[in-house]
Amino acid sequence: MGVRWDAVVDPAAVGRHQPRPPLPQPVIDRSSRRIRVCVRLFGALAALSAERSLRLELPAATTIAGALAALGERLGGTLLAQLLDERGQKRRHCRLFVGGYPVEDLRMPLHATDDPTEIDIILLIAPEGG
């Protein structure tokens, strides 16, 4: 069968790409303090919700997924269904930003900080063409 595909690649070559600069880390309080977040909804989500900016207080060691669950409890399942699909995964066109940085993995933990952590959520347009 000739040369193996997985033998062609020199693993050392893969490491030659420029690593991404690390994201700034928040000042983390490792006590059992509850986590305060400020969730802001934009665009179509704001139109669906009576509150477009709301504060939540969450238990220590909450993840983004936990924060969204709390949001759903507060604002209802209809809104949550816009963010998450039937398997509980974030919808692709739902963009989440924590402290201004994009987040794709809902397992990311939140940390108790002096100021409430800002979570911005917006639904982008899906179809394109051309």
Binding site: W5, D10, F42, E128
Partner: protein, 867 residues
Amino acid sequence: MNLYSPRSDMPPIQEDAWVPSTCSLCYGTCSILAHRVDGVVVKIEGNPDSEVGKGRLCGKGVSGIMTHYDPNRLRYPMRRTNPKKGLNEDPGWKRISWDEALDEIGEVLRKLRADDPRKLVVQRTTTVTACRVPFHAFATAFGTPNFSVSGGGQHCGNGAHLISGMMHASWSVVPDFEYCNYSIFFGASKGHSAGHASCSNMGKAADARARGMKMVVVDPLCNFAAAKATEWVPLRVGTDAALALGMCNVMVNELGIYDGPYLQAKTNAPYLVGPDKLYVRHPESKTPLVWDTRTNGARPFNEVPAADMALEGEFTVGGISCHPAFQSLREHLRKFTPDWAEKISGVSAATVRRLAKEFATEARIGSTIVVDGVALPYRPVAAIAFRGAQGHKNSVYNFFSVTLLNHLVGAADVVGGCLGFNPTSHGYPETGMVRYLPNADPDGLMIVGSWMGYHYPYPPAQPRLPQNLGLQDLFTIGMTSPFLDSTDREEMWEKFDVPYRPEVMINCGANLVMSIANKDAVAASLSKYKFIVSFDLFLTETSNFVDIILPDCDYLQSLDARSNYPFIFSLPAGMGEWCWPIRQPVLPPEGDQRQFADVLLELADRVGFRADLNAAYNAWLDLRPPYRLVGDESYSYERICDAELKNNFGTERGLEWFKEHGLIKWKKKPEEVYWRPFVDARVPVYLEFLKPIGDKIAAIAEPRGLKIPLEYYEPLPDFLPCRSHCCDKPGFDFYGFYYRDVVHTNSFTMENPWLDETARLDPFSYAIAMNRSEGVKRGFADGQAVWVESETGRKVKGRLKLTEGIHPEGLGFAAMCGHWTDGQPVAKGKGVFYNDLLELDWEHTSPININLDLCVKVRVVPAESAS
């Protein structure tokens, strides 16, 4: 006397500047240098510093001056005074001020947003890439999901971009011109016409031909690409899948040539499939299973070395009989014999076999090459497809069959093979920004790293009862939809209980009346809107339905911080340099012209959703602290552009730096260009996911009276005929189709007098091409006026150009001509309006990717004898 020396009585030149910017005569968006002398642009050339064009410019690009200085350009806002809308209704335009215009538009939008923001439809032209982000951001912020890219998107993408994305993680594909030895172009003209990275590709393609690359062009028309090809293979319109599948069969089953290690390592060929045509999965983890030949058992694919995965054999797993997907594919291909392919496509069986053998042999399976010190697979063959194969109801299988040729021999995103346009970027070295990589879903199949929107080619979103007017949330394999304007749109919306209707449209530059299908259907749709606003350079046929026209700035007057980003769209593929050019104003606005981006920002302020618009820009541009837009601050578009540039390239490289330098470049690495061996993701040679998607769509649609033909959702490709292939009406014996003209961009450039003059010198540009023998047989003469009639009774009139360079059954119409608006006097009356033959309804739409069927079975009669 030297006629070109400045006269002594002429004032001295005060200013003589070459300004770097980007073209916008087509979506290629090539980099330009605009020569401005004392406030007048006297010449436009390519920018030799840029990878985008490499200093060259096509005829359209150099002619941009004539579009800019056209006296018919709109210069002030206007409002219609005639409330009646129609194709031939004079709107009764009245000049108004910007304040009057924005007051009224703002009031309409405020009320609409309070009522239901989804009632707004935002539409843009695909020609002006700069309007993508501003209009997407506006629609996002307003809260509507209803977005259209008009005919440019509908005619050119639902098939091509879907499969290119799924299989190559990019918007489109191109041969690796630098190293390819054998290329087959199925209805494509990459490197020989307009389109993605057009000028750069022209140079690369010319060098490749000079180097000896064999180029085979499969096309009903011997046109731009075929004219320079080694071989032109005339093909019956819309039958690309038949030829490609015939070739795949010959390669796999007659020659036994395919890249087994590639299929094992980089595709789902080894995945076990059961009698239900679905993967056999691990009972707990649900991971697809493969047969491990070393342990002689079924195991999850991610636990077995690729070399140990069976590609063939019959196995039993948990009581289920199953075999690898490759075996299904191999058996499935057997029915596509060369004789069968000949019957469907018109290409002889001997040619099918020869092309297959040439392609498979030159693929040099198993070979490697070293590029910049990196050892890589070397497969110097590429089969590409684009607009020709994509313009059909069967475009998904057309495209998939062509791309299968590449994947059977491992010629996908490796040296010499079929390349996506920049599917991978390791980012700008100093900041790491604009970095993206394809990755894999839980089934191991590839998800794109970068896309033009969020309706990804894979995995498709789960279908649901639609909430979008275009029904793309039901037909999730599709992108641009015909159902915003189709004659049966109301019936569709009622079937699916869509709880609202479109009331307001904001349009940017799209001429929908001409660009999508027959004008009567579109007119009926546009007439239903309560209010339409349009940003335009000229009055168009669509303007007759508009309430307020806003005079747009053109590309010589505009700012755009990301002319050629995303890189998957219009940055040249292959080795070379990454390049990020900007567009900057070369000239000021004239009269009351304003750039659309600025107007949208002001509208958001007036209506009261600036905070949402800022958030939308943050999301679309991936702005990070400290460059994120904050709260509801009224940033100008200049500041937003500055923020994006600093966000990506560092504090020192904002807008002022880019205005001075025009662009930034950095070297590409082989691992970025030839990324396939470095990314642990597979592609489907067996479209297992289609079946459950089709079943779900049917479960939603059929109880509501819409039958879904599930043969379009089978996991293995087939030739499915278009409606034209099924027409047996006597006398209707030509397949009508339109093709891109290298001189023109859709309907946009017809008004440009230099391009019009060039087109009039070209015997094909404004004519209808017919095979000479067939024409003479029927008593037609070169230049004769004829009527062309569709099987549904639609008619267009034009003049024939008889040529040997077209399939005997083909009837080719160039570009998108036939303007009738008084607003474009140079364009008016030129050429044939082909789209007027097209129906716009479910019956003429693909039930899988909602592509419109663009080929039509027609009859041709002399114009004098038409009733």
